[in-house]
């Protein structure tokens, strides 16, 4: 009687284990993603300045009023430099005119004031 009980218990236990395994094998839907991948986005903005409102004025002897040109730099500290240059027959800027301290001759009628704005690096 004892042996029969043990035998039956073993069989029931096996059946229970099989049933439990089957219930575990039921497809389970993962609730959340388990795989994460990353993509990196990089970019560079180089320091630079540009003229927002270009100004080209051909003046006569008469006084003229023009809106000032506007230079923008993408850095907080722009640097200004200016110098007087000769203008050639095509209107292009040519050689630099020495500053007043080392200049002996007066300005030529064909000169221009060049203003250069650069970022402070």
């Amino acid at each position: 009687m004892m042996a029969l009980t043990i035998l039956i218990s073993n069989r029931i236990a096996r059946a229970a284990i099989v049933l439990a395994s089957m219930s575990l094998a039921v497809p389970a839907v993962p609730a959340m993603a388990d795989e994460v991948n990353q993509v990196a986005i990089y970019g560079e903005v180089a320091p630079r300045c540009w003229v927002a409102q270009p100004m080209k004025v051909a003046t006569t002897n008469a006084a003229v009023q023009v809106p000032p040109a506007r230079a923008i730099c993408n850095q907080a500290q722009p640097v200004l430099a200016s110098e007087v240059r000769m203008i050639d027959s095509d209107g292009a800027l040519m050689k630099r005119v020495p500053t007043a301290t080392d200049r002996t001759a007066p300005f030529s009628p064909r000169t221009a004031l060049e203003i250069v704005v650069t970022p402070q690096l």
């Binding site: 039956i8 609730a31 993509v39 990196a40 986005i41 560079e44």
Partner: protein, 202 residues
């Protein structure tokens, strides 16, 4: 008391019969010439199920980087190929660490330190169906309003209705036109990180 004992024995007997069913064949087959029954036909029901699985195929995860100089002037665009390995419907979601490309450079009045860009998702299934959407990176940050913002889950992410186990041309695209914001972008190095996740979808 006697009735209970009889009932108990009866139950034991039934259990014993059931338990021993697998141990004893109901029909005996004999070798040819040794008996009338030479074969036994047994019906075996075979059932199988495929576990729903979903992820990126090996080598199919969108990884890598894009690095664009002077992107404020030129803009940029870059596609990252995606190959899923999902045996059923899936969802794919994207989150942005910064909600745009940010720089550590100092800003200030009139300067912007976060550059906008767009993220597009296109996913295609084996059966030819597809799903796509485009969102600004700003809407992919935590709590963002993009349809595929966040971490993929049963109800989060762009849903692809069919299985996708092949290279179907799916991709993630990051892009930006030349910057046209009111405040100028401060000079500096900009960066952001996108996290892409995939999940099965009911």
């Amino acid at each position: 008391m006697g009735f209970l004992r009889v009932l108990f024995l009866l139950v034991l007997a039934v259990i014993g019969v059931i338990a021993s069913q697998h141990a004893h064949a109901q029909v005996t087959a004999y070798a040819v010439g040794q008996g009338a029954v030479n074969s036994v036909e047994v019906g075996v029901e075979v059932r199988a199920s495929v576990l729903g699985r979903c992820g990126f195929a090996t080598g199919g995860a969108p990884t890598g980087a894009v690095d664009q100089a002077d992107f404020d002037k030129s803009g940029f665009t870059k596609d990252f190929a995606i190959q899923l390995n999902c045996t059923g419907a899936s969802r794919i979601a994207v989150s942005s660490a910064n909600g745009g490309m940010t720089t550590a450079a100092a800003g200030g009045t009139g300067y912007q330190t976060k550059a906008p860009y767009n993220v597009a998702l296109y996913v295609a299934a084996d059966n030819g169906t597809n799903a796509s959407a485009t969102c600004a990176a700003a809407t992919l940050a935590a709590g963002g309003s993009c349809t595929f913002a966040g971490t993929a889950g049963t109800a989060t992410g762009l849903r692809l209705g069919g299985a996708s186990t092949k290279a179907n041309g799916s991709y993630l695209r990051v892009s930006a036109p030349a910057y046209a914001g009111t405040d100028m972008l401060a000079a500096g190095r900009y960066s952001d990180t996108l996290s892409i996740t995939v999940s099965v979808s009911p």
